[in-house]
């Protein structure tokens, strides 16, 4: 599965980095960085949780 982030929409709440630190990080300004654009298994589960928690809906996980 493919992860896409919208850095423009990000508000730097850090939920993604907290629940899926292997998939997401924050840059020096707090804005989301995508570490793993393709995820399966436990990473997919974590990425999905991050997408659900993201207060700005800036994360999408999809088949392509």
């Amino acid at each position: 599965m493919v992860v896409v982030v919208q850095r423009d929409a990000c508000v730097g709440a850090g939920q993604c980095t907290l629940v899926a630190p292997d998939v997401f990080d924050q840059d020096d300004d707090g804005i989301v960085l995508l570490l793993e654009p393709e995820v399966e298994g436990a990473l997919l589960e974590a990425a999905n949780k991050a997408a659900r928690l993201c207060p700005a809906r800036a994360i999408a996980v999809s088949a392509q």
Binding site: G12, A13, D29, P55
Partner: protein, 425 residues
Amino acid sequence: MTTSSTEIENAMSNTAGCPFHARSLPSDGTPLAPSPRFAEWREQGAFVPLDFQDGHEGLVATRYDAVVSVLQDPRFSMLPARMPVGPATLDEPKSEGAAAAVPLELPGDLDEAAQASELLNLLTLDGAEHSKLRRAVTARFTVRQARSREPWIRDMIAGEVARIRGSKDVVDLWHDYAMPISARTHCHVIGIPPQKYEDFVELFVEPSTAQQKYDFIRALLEERRNDPGEDVITDLLNNPELTQIEIEGLLRLLMGAGRDSVAYLIATASVALLTHPEQMELLRSDVEGVRPAVEEFMRAGSMFVTLFARTATEDVEIEGTIIRAGTSVAVSPVAANRDPAHWGENPEQFDVTRDAFGHIGFGYGIHGCIGQQVARVEIREAITALLEGFPDISLVSAEQLEPHPFAHPVAVYEAGEVLVRLTTA
């Protein structure tokens, strides 16, 4: 069951002009046992009618999905800043904090620049203007930044533990422990030097005028201009995109926002544990469990009965309900955090082993709490230190176990006095 727009309109027209049917926020709840009215409202619909102080008939979102939908929908604005009718809301906010964050009217006797700063409040802005100001301060509130503060926070808390240990037999956990921990962390992250801590408490924890606050902020900025550090003030002073008015407005908001609420959460989590000894023992036997338990403290002990209301800028349909343009919607973290449709069985139960991520305790959406990663560290370390430092701690009394008027027009619970005996001796 979904409430149709017709039902809402009927309900609202039925209540119009009849004070006996007016819907106001219920007064018969406490932080850890909110009013049963919230459960009734959730049963009735995703949105139910609510009266606002200016006579407006709006709605309150009670179900988790509805709350999340409103908070992340850009078609809702923070303006106008309407406040719901609540039980015996106090005439004057007792202390700075959430209420001061949205000035319904400008405080008198403010100089012109301060008036301009006051109007640039992050919590009343939407869109690009909000985004520019919020992004100016996100850098100091990342997960990594919060982790880098851990050693400092732990040391500071060890000092507070030593202080209460040596002071007296019975202490007020809110006033003597939670409040100083929160205020000191606030100063540390924002960049208020330790020698100004007492002044900060006097101006921003005790009552003072808005002009006094701006005078403090301006003197502080002058002092820090040639004295950079690892803090918010340094970032603001180095940001070429910000005006002086924007910097002062941001600091006015940041110095109040979150400080009372972190202290509240530490106090309320303590009360939750002291009144649930089996949960307390569970964490004491495995303090690593405090990290995820912070989410449950936030869920079960949310401070905000409702957040600042959002107003629809156009007709919006959510969960089958049409919310007409101009309608204000109060969203209730307290109700959403106990919605069985989201949390499953026993949402009323305080359970430190629950996966409570996704709670609305820090709000949600673009106005969600910016300091939440630092807050998590503060609450975790404060509770861990209590568990480890005072194996015989017991509750003497807690004001928050009885219903009290909400602390601010925006409807938040107050921590109140939390008296504990630290040792059995």
